[in-house]
């Protein structure tokens, strides 16, 4: 009879070695890998810290009145960012109003309607839309869209409400409407790309089941595909929102740079990001701190939107 002790310790031999071979990992190699991971994490911490540090004097000086104040006048040391926050939210919101239906529609078309042979070059075109640098969109908006906006689109919009809210004021091209238009083009590729992944993850059985019951293609898309991809599509929209909230240069070029409270969609404005971009150089230390506070608000806004979006998309793709 063999005691359990003698089995496990037979000649001091470790039986698990036969089952699970030890992999020599190379100590230097694993140090390099882990070291760079630690280094990068440290840089990320420093990144967040840099923005907190830059904004700290502003928070300790003005407190939460930075968020609630309505007057952004650096020359008078007034740093109320509410108009900027509102303009950021409005432009992103209006941009999504157009980009979401068009983006999801495009994704559905590419995945289900157009044959793959045609869909793949079309997909490349949509992806190229994302490759165009934002400064080029800004330039295009400034030189091509402004005249078109002020002579055609804005008078037409004003006619819709006969000059009332939200299309009141002078039609000068620049302003919130133009910024929203440019933004909607810029976030479109993001929404399309993520929506396609999410839609592609809808189980084939569901679609075939609906088809075999005699549903038309539109019924399949509207009543099966979209509802079952709902969460992931929401994630795609949130990712687009994150991009729209943080877009800087193109918005700075077309929004008219005026930090006043937005009264209508025709008014000029400034977003959080565009204000940082246009005022950072040649600022007093006090104003730099206030701009740091804007950066911190922006970071908080976009990081939370992105985190939510990632979680939604992951749930959507896993099904």
């Amino acid at each position: 009879m063999i005691s359990s002790k003698s089995v496990s310790g037979l000649n001091g031999h470790d039986f698990t070695r036969g089952v699970m071979p030890r992999v020599k990992s190379g100590r230097f190699y694993s140090y390099v890998l882990r070291g760079s991971a630690v280094l990068f994490s440290a840089v990320l911490v420093l990144f967040v810290w840099s923005i907190i540090r830059q904004s700290w004097p502003a928070w300790s000086h003005s407190g939460l009145s930075i968020i609630t104040g309505t007057n952004w006048a650096p020359a008078d040391s007034q740093f109320g960012a509410l108009p900027l926050i509102l303009a950021t939210l409005i432009t992103a919101g209006v941009a999504l109003l157009f980009a979401v239906p068009i983006g999801i529609g495009t994704a559905l078309t590419l995945n289900y309607i157009v044959p793959p042979r045609i869909a793949s070059p079309l997909t490349v075109l949509v992806e190229l839309l994302a490759a165009v640098p934002s400064v080029v969109y800004g330039l295009w908006g400034l030189n091509v869209l402004v005249p078109w906006m002020s002579t055609t689109i804005q008078p037409w919009l004003a006619g819709l409400t006969s000059g009332g809210w939200p299309f009141s004021g002078n039609a000068i091209g620049l302003g919130l409407v133009l910024a929203s238009t440019v933004l909607s083009i810029m976030v479109l590729p993001t929404i399309v790309a993520i929506s396609r992944d999410v839609i592609a993850a809808v189980p084939r059985d569901l679609i075939e089941g609906a088809l075999s019951l005699g549903a038309t293609r539109s019924q399949v898309l509207l009543k099966v595909v979209v509802p079952s991809a709902k969460i992931g599509l929401l994630g795609a929209v949130s990712l687009g929102a994150g991009r729209a909230l943080g877009e800087t240069v193109a918005v700075a070029m077309v929004i008219g740079s005026s930090p006043s409270m937005p009264h209508s969609l025709f008014s000029l404005g400034s977003t959080l990001a565009s204000t940082i971009a246009t005022q950072f150089i040649d600022s007093s230390p006090q104003q730099l701190a206030a701009l740091g506070a804007l950066a911190m608000i922006l970071m908080f806004l976009t990081a939370s939107v992105n985190a939510i979006a990632r979680a939604l998309v992951q749930r959507g793709v896993k099904g």
């Binding site: 071979p21 992999v23 990992s25 190379g26 230097f28 190699y29 694993s30 890998l33 882990r34 760079s36 991971a37 990068f40 840089v43 990320l44 420093l46 990144f47 840099s50 923005i51 068009i102 983006g103 529609g105 559905l108 078309t109 309607i113 157009v114 079309l122 949509v126 190229l128 839309l129 490759a131 165009v132 640098p133 934002s134 400064v135 080029v136 800004g138 030189n143 091509v144 399309v192 038309t216 539109s218 898309l221 990712l239 943080g246 877009e247 800087t248 240069v249 990001a273 940082i276 971009a277 950072f280 150089i281 701009l291 740091g292 950066a295 922006l298 970071m299 976009t302 992105n306 990632r310």
Partner: protein
């Protein structure tokens, strides 16, 4: 046969099927009409999505090409005066600036991104998962925040606007993109290759560097090219930290100019000739970005052919 069927008691299932069929026949025309309408709506959404690309390209070609010349690409800029409104010189300084800044950024971001990709693809620990989610969130953060970061640590400490600070901001922008691409490419390498290597007695490091990395190389190269394309067009962080130079400036420790900055500045400049030059710079920029994109696609297509 028919008599026999008629004598049978009516089958409730068959009866229901008949009713359903009748109903569906009745609504079929309306449903297929509605379906057709909806599908054409979807197709028009696709067209609306692509139209801006053509408008942008048309504007670029129409306004940008007439400015382009050898001198425009190689000379340094000149300030137009009231007397000579059309002397704008060239953008050679910005081309060199972009080259140096993006080169330095790539020098940092490419190795770091690949190493991080290796780490994330080989590690399942909790810190690795956390790092992965944080890098993913990083890719969605507005690039201007990276400009603030570079300003606080590099510009303030070096007491100067430098190309180096811009390069570091861009490196931080590129690293998550490369990391993500590298991790995906490395994970897609068949596990059997790794196991074969390990079974031959090679160390994990040797297997990773000599077996897995070469197989994943096309995917990683694709990621690097796309990250470069994104960095070259990036304006916002450079705006805060680079300053400007109107000379040929090769030293990244000095203020520098870059192509996107040049476009941005010219677009709001005083003279018409400068506005025209903005389009010239833009077309150079878009051409570079397009070339990088096409290259990345070619690499990806090459990889797919190799597999099959």
């Amino acid at each position: 046969m028919t008599d026999l069927l008629a004598k049978l008691p009516p089958d409730p299932l068959l009866e229901r099927r008949r009713v359903v069929q009748l109903m569906s026949q009745k609504t079929q025309r309306a449903r297929s009409l509605r379906s057709g309408l909806f599908l054409s709506l979807l197709v028009s959404a696709l067209m609306v999505a692509i139209i801006p690309l053509f408008f942008v390209c048309a504007a670029l070609v129409q306004r940008g090409f007439k400015v382009l010349s050898w001198g425009f690409l190689t000379q340094v800029p000149q300030q137009p005066t009231l007397m000579q409104q059309d002397t704008i010189g060239g953008v050679g300084n910005a081309i060199i600036g972009s080259l140096v800044v993006d080169g330095v950024a790539a020098l940092v971001a490419v190795p770091l991104g690949i190493i991080l990709g290796l780490y994330l693809s080989e590690t399942q620990s909790r810190p690795a998962t956390a790092l992965r989610s944080i890098t993913e969130i990083m890719t969605g953060l507005p690039s201007i925040l990276l400009g603030v970061f570079a300003y606080v640590y590099l510009v303030l400490n070096m007491h100067a606007f430098t190309g180096f600070a811009g390069a570091m901001a861009l490196a931080l922008l590129m690293t998550p993109v490369i990391t993500k691409a590298a991790e995906t490419a490395l994970r897609n390498v068949p596990r059997t290759l790794t196991e074969a290597g390990l079974a031959l007695g090679a160390r994990q490091s040797k297997v990773s560097l000599k077996v897995v990395l070469p197989v994943a190389a096309p995917g990683i190269i694709t990621g690097v090219l796309l990250a470069l394309a994104r960095a070259i067009g990036e304006t916002a962080p450079l705006l805060l930290v680079m300053g400007a130079s109107i000379q040929y400036e090769w030293n990244p420790l000095h203020p520098m100019s870059a192509l996107p900055l040049m476009t941005f500045n010219y677009s709001s400049a005083a003279y018409d000739s400068q506005h025209a030059a903005a389009w010239g710079v833009a077309i150079v920029l878009v051409a570079i970005v397009l070339i990088l994109n096409v290259m990345s696609r070619l690499v990806a297509a090459f990889m797919r052919r190799e597999r099959h």
